[in-house]
């Protein structure tokens, strides 16, 4: 309710500001220009294509990166040798902002859907990896001892105690990864792509078509909100025993 009110008030203020301060359209376009650009884009299908491409990059990259992160996280958490040899280097590699590596990925894989998916997957990978390791290590010592007293096998202990303890952390990682996936897809498109919302933003920038940029912003915000809500809901259903904190920044 309050959100809707704030939205309407915001749009009104926006319009007033543009008119009263006589702002040039390339600095801040009035709301109706943005809406008409959006409608035109949907009508001509171009915005739909861009949205679809970006959406696909985000989802595929997110899933791939998350699965990789979870898989490797399980391996590292269960094996101390690997933890002390490989893990420090993964952490070190993460010091280099993944966005900076984007041009290299484009050199290696060309300007294509795959490159963007790789960048997105790389960005999703690390939060999942870290959170899976933290989560698996956070298993209650007493519970593990209890399982041992019941002569449970390692696999049973893993399945019955460790995995549930890790789930809250894993879903927190997934929420982070979703947001990072969007960032990755956009930056990837900035550097090396001829389609997608990121590309559309750069195109609009070169044409000083600020209204077009705003259209992209709105669509990206909606995609982000949608994906975040989906992940949060799945998280809440799966980790039904826990309150999930709200932390949001992109």
């Amino acid at each position: 309710m309050l959100g809707a009110l704030a939205l309407v008030a915001g749009v009104v203020l926006w319009k007033l500001a543009v008119v009263a301060l006589a702002i040039e359209p390339y600095i801040l376009p009035p709301p109706e220009t943005v809406i008409s650009r959006l409608v035109d884009g949907i009508g001509s299908g171009s915005i739909v294509t861009h949205t679809y491409v970006t959406g696909a990059e985000i989802v595929v990259g997110f899933v791939a990166g998350s699965l990789l992160g979870i898989g490797l996280g399980i391996v590292i958490a269960l094996n101390r040798w690997i933890e002390f040899t490989v893990y420090p280097y993964i952490v070190a590699f993460n010091s280099i902002p993944t966005v900076a590596i984007t041009p290299l990925i484009v050199i290696w894989f060309g300007t294509s859907f795959q490159s963007i998916v790789i960048i997105t997957a790389l960005l999703s990978f690390f939060p999942l990896l870290v959170n899976v390791i933290v989560g698996l290590h956070s298993a209650d010592g007493e519970q593990v001892s209890f399982m041992r007293s019941l002569t449970a096998t390692k696999w049973q202990t893993f399945r019955i105690v460790r995995i549930p303890s890790a789930l809250p952390s894993v879903f927190a990682g997934l929420e982070m990864a979703v947001i990072l996936s969007i960032v990755g897809a956009i930056v990837g498109e900035f550097i090396g792509s001829q389609e997608g919302l990121g590309y559309y933003i750069i195109l609009s920038q070169t044409l000083l078509d600020t209204a077009g940029m705003f259209v992209s912003f709105i669509i990206l915000a909606l995609i982000g909100a949608l994906l975040s809500v989906i992940v949060k809901q799945i998280g809440r259903k799966t980790v039904f025993w826990q309150e999930i904190e709200h932390r949001g920044y992109a």
């Binding site: 040899t85 041009p103 959170n131 900035f190 940029m213 992209s216």
Partner: protein, 296 residues
Amino acid sequence: MSSGDPALSTKRPMRAGDGSSRATTVPAAPSRLRSLDLIGTRSGRALLTALTLLAGLVVWQLAVVALDLEPYILPAPGDVLNALVDAIAEDGLVKHTYTTAGEIVVGFVAGSILGVAIGAMIALSRWLELIFYPYVMAFNAVPKVAITPLIIVWFGTGFNSIVLVSALFSFFPVLVNVVVGARSVDREQLSYMGSLTATRWQTFRMVRIPAALPSLFAGLQIAIVLAVSGAIVGEFIGAKAGLGYYILLANSLLDTTAMFAAFLVLGALGALLSWAIGRLARRVVFWRQIDPGGVG
């Protein structure tokens, strides 16, 4: 152990994970040193990490030679070091690094201060919260990287624009964490201050601020990482100096070796800044472990 007199207890079992590789006293020494004991000691771990680094470099060098990889695909480690030295000596890598570091630090500080200020205002005033928080959240929903080109359109290319981008990236984590932290005050502590007839300012100073600090510093740790990303993305879009610009330049020349050199410098810069904030966090919030989570 239960006697409690330190002078009397001389027997302590040898335990891995102590951090010491020397035995104190040896009641009944184990007959074989298990390999896992190596991992238990700090020096053992450090040695393992160093060996892996060496092994990694060797594998890298071998791969480049054996697979006869073009330098623009994967340069050899030696070439990267050469490129690094050259870049410092000739291409002004130092200047670029300095520019980017400046953008990051100034942007981070500006964004954080703004985040703290607005966060504090929102946390303390229900009116401001009701008015502003929806806009903050809506604005936050748009990925900041997407907004970067708009910032360049508005403010042009150059140091100041990138500072603004970096500040924008830093602002939100700090804001959100300040609000969360300020709200996390223990009600009992507030009642207690009330019972001591403390003024609002005294309560603020002695209870609210310390309660918010762990969250604030977690936010700062996230913000510094984002500030680095922000500066790089900003330079990608619109800059003529800095490490991001240098990477794009190397990209256009297919000079992968130079790119790797820039990655090393950038990684070191990012790690240094993160470490610095981490140290500050540990000193200021000495009573708690800060957990910012893993953000790339």
